[in-house]
Amino acid sequence: MSAGARRVLTLPLFWPCVTLALLIVLNATVNPGFLALEWRDGHLYGNLIDILNRAAPLALVATGMTLVIAARGLDISVGAVVAIAAATAALCVSATSSLGAAIVAALAVALACGLWNGLLVVAVGMQPIIATLILMVAGRGIAQLITGGQIITIYYPPYDYLGNGFLLGLPFAAVLALAVIVALHALLTVTPLGLFIRAIGINPLAARIAGVRARPITLALYGFCGLAAGIAGLIISSNVKSADANNAGTLLELDAILAVTLGGTALTGGRFSLAGTAIGALIIQTLTSTIYSLGVPPEVNLVFKAALIFVVMLLQSAEFRASIRQFAMRPADLTEVSKAAGPSA
């Protein structure tokens, strides 16, 4: 293998990109019209555009999740926050008929949810999974409290734009998600924030001793994660023109964690990639579309996702890689390796 090829193979985004490309090729062979793009009614139209639009909320939630996981946290309440934000927006739209008020109210509530999680982790010192479990359990109840147990239908045309509108020929939701990711990437690379997050993820204690203000940063990351879930809640509720406290964003936390993992972010913290997460979200959405187009019952999707999690998880495990290496090497190689390792050990 040449040095160049080897370098390509070890690029962090190589495997996520290959997975996405394979899925798209598979779709294109099964369904020749899959790659077709048309210009219709002043915007692009086609399967790929549809995937972009549907992947947007997941990409947003997963972006927030990426940063939280990068700093050794976890947020399993995002699905519930999506439901709360959607309920708030629906209530606000029907009460005030103002798009701006609905967006501000929903995002404020979502941010508050995120900061609540962050406070539990930072100030009370709970394990992240437990701290966010509280909101995950109570959140759907709160969302139902807001909607009064009903599914609120949103009859307000401007609100449709968030989930179904187009900007520059592309779905507005996808443009929004891309803008958030690009802005965040710029923020993390121009300022030392990205470095701080990595430092907290690799060794929180060392980061604090080195002068990184770990607590406010972690709090802000949870706040951002809640905010991202809030934006996703706006898009999802606009897309289906209703807020359903029970079903908006169900299992979204799991999809988000899957997207983060697929993108090459280490679940143990420290190493993260926003672009990888975006590709991970696209992989999940393409997989869903593939399953629909193959005519496989859509319920099988869960099993496919689980298989993906297992594969990625095992590939990330040092123990698994070691046992594969052992298995792949012939016994003669092994004795050589142990001889070579012997004197130094």
């Binding site: 359990v137 109570a138 689980a306 095992l314």
Partner: protein
């Protein structure tokens, strides 16, 4: 006088006492606020309506005692109801064959998760999350519709009532009570139970002491899978149907019951008895909401969330105090 620094009351019992106090406070509130709240059948109904939650939560207790978590129990439970209904009603298999088969299946499913967690050092949270996807997906593969169970054995089990004075218990509640007894024995009178507590206290020390850490971890997840399958059989009897959407989110209720029962999520401290009281508290909240009649069902979720919050904060305070006491007792260097 060195003895005065030791509290007369075992500190490990503090969370459990808090839980018990809470339970009695809620019962007292119910008794004062509503007529007929203290009827024996109200309390027996707690066991009848929460039998499957209790069984699943007991498996979860052992997992959490080792410092792990099992998110797959709700799905494994649903898969068991689905598989039981499909095998008995569609494949015409004998229930006497199906029940042991499914119990073994649950144990194997859990053991596989435990193996991945132990052997490849994967996070229990992620492994059991994937396990949750697999089990729920398999449910849908069997059927997306509900399958009614009309097998005579299941129907007679569902109709069976064990009389207790003027009130009665269901077969599911009886299974749950037997499970609790077995779990108490397993946790407090066997080598397995002691190893579970030791792993939760400090896995590395447990391994250095020569305890079978790997086997016990696999065993704990197998036990949780077994309990989930047993809870599934109980639910099949209770509902007389198999359905892919049975027990959605049950894992959260089970975790909540374990935490409210005073088991520390970091592992090593907690009691099966606490989990029983935790499940009873969840049941009492529901009963209070039903007795009130004007409250909507979503208040149950909110109250459970608030209780989880209070107990987690209390746990942190207890842990913090324990740490401080340890530091104070340390002889000056």
């Amino acid at each position: 006088m060195s003895a005065i620094t030791l509290p007369a009351f075992d500190r490990r019992l503090v969370p459990l006492s808090g839980t018990l106090l809470l339970f009695f406070a809620m019962v007292a509130f119910g008794a004062l606020a509503y007529d007929g709240f203290l009827a024996p059948q109200v309390f027996l109904n707690l066991a009848i309506d929460n039998a499957f939650l209790l069984i699943a939560a007991i498996g979860m207790t052992f997992v959490i005692l080792t410092g792990g978590i099992d998110l797959s129990v709700g799905s494994v439970l649903a898969l068991t109801t689905m598989a039981a209904a499909a095998l008995i009603e569609h494949a015409q298999m004998s229930p006497l064959l199906v029940i042991p088969l499914l119990l073994a299946g649950g144990a194997v499913f859990g053991a596989l998760q435990g193996f991945l967690i132990h052997r490849y050092r994967l996070q229990p949270f992620i492994v059991t999350l994937a396990g949750m996807f697999v089990a729920r997906g398999l449910c849908y593969l069997i059927d997306t519709e509900s399958i009614p169970v009309r097998d005579p054995l299941f129907v007679s089990l569902a109709e069976m009532r064990i009389p207790l004075g003027q009130s009665s218990l269901s077969s599911g509640a009886a299974i749950a009570i037997v499970t609790v007894a077995a779990a108490l024995w397993l946790a407090h009178a066997t080598r397995f139970g002691r190893t579970v507590y030791a792993i939760g206290g400090n896995a590395r020390s447990a391994a250095l002491m020569g305890l079978p850490v790997g086997g016990t971890l696999v065993g704990v997840y197998a036990l949780s899978g077994f309990c989930a399958a047993l809870a599934g059989i109980t639910m099949t009897v209770y509902m007389l149907s198999g359905y892919s959407l049975h027990a959605v989110g049950l894992e959260l209720d089970a975790i909540a019951a374990v935490v409210i029962g005073g088991t520390l999520l970091t592992g090593g401290v907690g009691y099966v008895t606490g989990t029983v009281v935790g499940v009873l508290i969840l049941g009492i909240i529901q009963t209070l909401v039903i007795f009130d009649g004007t409250l909507s069902s979503w208040w149950t979720r909110i109250v459970v969330g608030i209780l989880l919050f209070l107990f987690c904060v209390a746990q942190r305070l207890i842990e913090g105090r324990a740490q401080k006491m340890k530091n104070e007792r340390r002889p000056p260097a």
